[in-house]
Symmetry: none
Subunit: 251 residues, 2 copies
DNA sequence: TCAATTTCAATCATTTTCGATCATAAACAA
DNA sequence: TTGTTTATGATCGAAAATGATTGAAATTGA
């Protein structure tokens, strides 16, 4: 049996079953274990599959990401709710800006196959967006060490070339007096610019952000519609609604 | 049996089964192994099929570029050599441009903890660059479906804001007449702009790119120093050196 | 925990495949 | 005719692929 032929069979088996044991592969190809092992090693180097003990598995692009995200991220369910609702605000043919950050990331699966154009400064969003067949543009800018978000003057400048039907932003803190704030001034300048070029703006924030303030000012509350969940206090709901439109997502 | 007749049989067999072993072909044609080998070599040169060890396979007539995954398949070691050498050209404090693409990707591990500033249009490079503590800026632009590379006018525009000590580019094809070429015009515009704003420019290309041409013109050979390996033919070395500086990396 | 089993990478001998070379025979030209 | 070109088949050493074996590492089960 030809090498290419054998490796094609391996690919086919994996497509069918997600994973396969070495023994299975030995049987269906009629080759020796050594040969199969060599094939798997080679194919893993080519990123065609992932070796696992005893066999091989189809590799999923996001294999590492969820684990990473789950660890770092708090209030996942709350953020999912926010993201789901926010995605429903987007209309066919819209051009939208998606801020970097995990809350916004969760919006992407809900955008699958919608005819929209997305601009983002979140490097980590890009593979996921492309996977979901979404036309994607990326802002320029300096890449932030931990999050890979694009920030700073350069990012803001490229944003000025666009006009958005809607902008979806994450922030670190929401307060009626301080408005929306975030720790990194380099980031705030990007968010500010997005708010300037967006027609309708939304800030997604879970309950932990409420009544907090961070170092860098972004904008006063009225600059965007605040999307949050029932988990925030009545008091906060009351206070913020005096300054801006606020949408409380019910679970 | 006539030569044409024999080769027609080979074509037919391939159409049926996608691939065929030399032994099979020897049997059905009644010719010797040597003859079949000669046929296959000849037919491969005419791009009628692809030789694989032990036989031949139908070649997929894809106009599109091979996906990133398939691309990574080939000549990894050669690319590593190129990347290693290219990295040695970078000086402390340099500002450099790193093109998207796997060959260039391999440069990154060699840049660890160097005091340099990198600008790239390769989304996939960013996490790796940050991991190695390298100051990283990203161009804007449209994200390409398969490779996540940033391309098009927007990418080129942001590049004009920078000046580089050195640019490192990948290309799909190198030819003394056609110069450097690549299948995607959206990509070529980015590479062109990089060449304009770079002080010293390098094109990294393995032997498979030599003497080939692709759809979109980037620049004539003299626009960059060609970095390649011993694997390319004497003839190509000779010819290209008439047009541009060429560095042949020894293993 | 320990022992048994499975899985693994590394190594080696064998087999297969390859390209190069040479000899032969047929086709062709002078 | 004779010499030349071309296609073919055979052979050979080198390179690559394969299969078997081994001891180490990981996993499992008691």
């Amino acid at each position: 049996m030809l090498t290419v032929e054998r490796q094609t069979k391996i690919r086919e088996m994996l497509k069918e079953k997600e994973m396969a044991t070495i023994h299975e592969l030995v049987e269906t190809t009629g080759s020796s274990e050594s040969t199969i092992r060599r094939d798997l090693t080679e194919m893993e180097e080519r990123r065609e599959l992932k070796r696992v003990r005893g066999g091989a598995a189809l590799l999923k692009r996001r294999q590492e990401e969820p684990a990473l995200i789950e660890k770092q991220v708090q209030f996942v369910e709350e953020k999912q709710q926010l993201a789901h609702y926010a995605a429903s605000l987007i209309k066919q043919q819209d051009c939208i800006f998606l801020d970097a950050g995990t809350t916004i990331l969760y919006m992407i699966p809900h955008l699958k196959d919608r005819e929209i154009t997305v601009v983002t400064n979140g490097i980590t969003h890009v593979p996921l967006l492309l996977e979901h067949s979404i036309t994607t543009y990326v802002t320029g800018g300096k890449a932030k060490e931990k999050t890979s978000a694009l920030v700073g003057h350069a990012a803001a400048e490229t944003l000025k070339n666009y006009r958005f039907d809607a902008c979806f932003l994450g922030v670190n803190a929401v307060d009626d007096e301080a408005g929306y704030t975030t720790p990194d001034p380099e980031e705030s300048v990007v968010k500010q610019t997005a708010l300037q070029v967006g027609n309708k703006n939304y800030v997604l924030a879970d309950h932990s952000k409420m009544g907090e303030t961070a170092f860098a000012h972004i904008a006063p509350l009225h600059a965007a519609t605040l999307v949050t969940t029932e988990d925030i206090s009545e008091d906060h709901q009351q206070r913020y609604s005096e300054y801006t439109e606020i949408k409380v997502v019910k679970s």
